[in-house]
């Protein structure tokens, strides 16, 4: 029906991001409610004092306190940022190239496997499939294994994003971007192109099919 908040985390990094988001949002709510309270108390008083005021103490407070709050936000943020870049020895490398308006995937570790992934148009959907999110060839990957994704583009800027894994990497023509992928659960994970790339930008989704290693090996052998 409807959703308030992020999708469930499928990778450890995404779990960290969820907690960080809760932490930061709590700080934001606190500040907003404080400001709202101050505004309402300013507006509902009959007292007036409109001459110039000297307020050194409170000025100091509201200079130091935001600096502290920002540090409290920045420290977890940097921690997660560096966690994303840890060396983790991926066992598989998959390359994905963005085109207008589809993704193509290359598995070239042990064999040459390349395919394109187009969105299924609404008129061709099977009953119960998600509109604008299903593709003809899904990206099959083994679960619980570190996978290196190399992302680039053949023409214009795209962005390869899978929210439940906490991934979003720009596909830049002429540049190779790398991100690591670890999924803790099997299943289908959907994402959409996240950088405006033309008329069908909203119509080039990404679907990851995370399966146990045996199934992956069977699939890639076929």
């Amino acid at each position: 029906p409807f959703q308030l908040g992020f999708q469930d985390a499928t990778s450890p990094i995404m779990e960290e991001l969820l907690h960080f988001h809760d932490h930061t949002l709590m700080i934001v709510f606190l500040i907003s409610s404080l400001v709202l309270y101050i505004i309402s108390s300013m507006l509902t008083t009959k007292l007036t004092h409109t001459s110039a005021m000297d307020a050194q103490e409170v000025e100091t407070i509201w200079t130091i306190l935001p600096a502290i709050i920002l540090i409290l936000i920045a420290l977890p943020s940097l921690r997660i940022l560096y966690m994303m870049d840890e060396i983790n020895n991926p066992s598989l490398t998959v390359k994905t190239m963005g085109h207008q308006w589809y993704w193509s995937y290359e598995y070239t570790d042990y064999e040459d496997l390349t395919f394109d992934s187009y969105m299924i148009p609404t008129s061709d959907l099977k009953p119960g499939e998600l509109r604008l999110l299903e593709v003809d060839n899904r990206v099959v990957l083994p679960m619980e294994m570190t996978i290196r994704m190399l992302i680039s583009s053949e023409d214009v800027l795209h962005s390869w994003a899978v929210p439940s894994l906490g991934l979003k990497t720009d596909a830049i023509p002429g540049r190779l971007n790398q991100t690591t992928l670890v999924a803790s659960r099997p299943g289908l994970y959907y994402g959409q192109c996240s950088e405006i790339c033309g008329s069908n930008h909203s119509f080039m989704p990404i679907v990851l099919e995370l399966v146990p290693l045996k199934h992956f090996e069977e699939w890639s052998a076929s």
């Binding site: 007292l47 007036t48 609404t122 009953p127 439940s164 659960r185």
Partner: protein, 242 residues
């Protein structure tokens, strides 16, 4: 008259007048008398609960002097600020009240009263006729000898409106709300027309049947099983968890 001093300046005994002779005031009837009677206490509210400033307190010259000196200090400080700041932005024609337009206001006065500075130093009427001047002289004496009507007259000389008059409510909100609702309704009509004539057909995936199949598919693949959708479904009993 140009001295920036409040009530405290002693003046010679004068002669009582019910109201100063001034254009634009004649249409305010006897209701003002009552308002003024109440409003004598309003300055007390403004000076942060200092009760000594009300007329009833003025019956005691000692307390009046103390209150007046307190008041004077406050207003002297204020007048310093205001002389620097300037009040020209408000304009003369609407001292503290924009919704009500007076008839004929004397132009180019020094009387600038605002809601945030209700009692300016300059008096409202600066050109006094003989009666009023006599009353001002009487004011310099003991205030206990002034009749109620004389005190009202002096107030009217000094100030344009009482606090009750200044704070009176208006019917503006009805006009505003009426216009708001009118435009909301008009917008609703526009949107309705748009729905009928402009919007394309809805995609097939928004029918109830499709949505049910979609939901079943998501539950089958256990989408968001930790805290999201599939976590709310009881797979054994095949129903939503309660």
């Amino acid at each position: 008259m140009s001295k920036a001093v409040g009530w405290g300046a002693p003046r010679d005994a004068g002669w009582a007048l019910p109201r100063p002779v001034e254009a634009g005031r004649s249409h305010e009837g006897a209701a003002l008398e009552k308002a003024v009677g109440r409003a004598w206490r309003a300055p007390a509210l403004w000076s942060l609960g200092s009760s000594a400033f009300s007329v009833t307190g003025l019956a005691d010259p000692g307390r009046a002097a103390a209150a007046a000196s307190r008041e004077m200090f406050f207003r002297a400080a204020w007048s310093l600020v205001l002389r620097r700041g300037g009040l020209g932005s408000r304009g003369i024609h609407s001292p503290g009240d924009t919704a009500h337009s007076k008839g004929k206001m004397p132009p180019y006065t020094n009387y600038h009263a605002q809601r945030s500075y209700p009692m300016p130093d300059e008096p409202f009427c600066t050109e006094l006729n003989a009666e009023q001047r006599a009353l001002k002289e009487k004011e310099k004496g003991s205030w206990t000898e002034l009749s109620h009507a004389e005190k009202v007259a002096l107030y009217r000389l000094q100030f344009h409106e009482t606090f009750a008059e200044m704070n009176r409510r208006s019917n503006e909100w009805k006009t505003v709300m009426g216009c708001v609702f009118f435009f909301c309704g008009f917008t609703a009509l526009l949107i309705w027309w748009q729905r009928v004539y402009v919007f394309p057909k809805k995609p097939i995936t928004l029918t109830a049947e499709w949505k049910a199949q979609q939901l079943q598919r998501i539950l089958d693949m256990k989408g968001n099983p930790v805290q999201g959708l599939a976590s709310q479904w009881d797979y054994e009993k095949k129903q939503w968890k309660k």
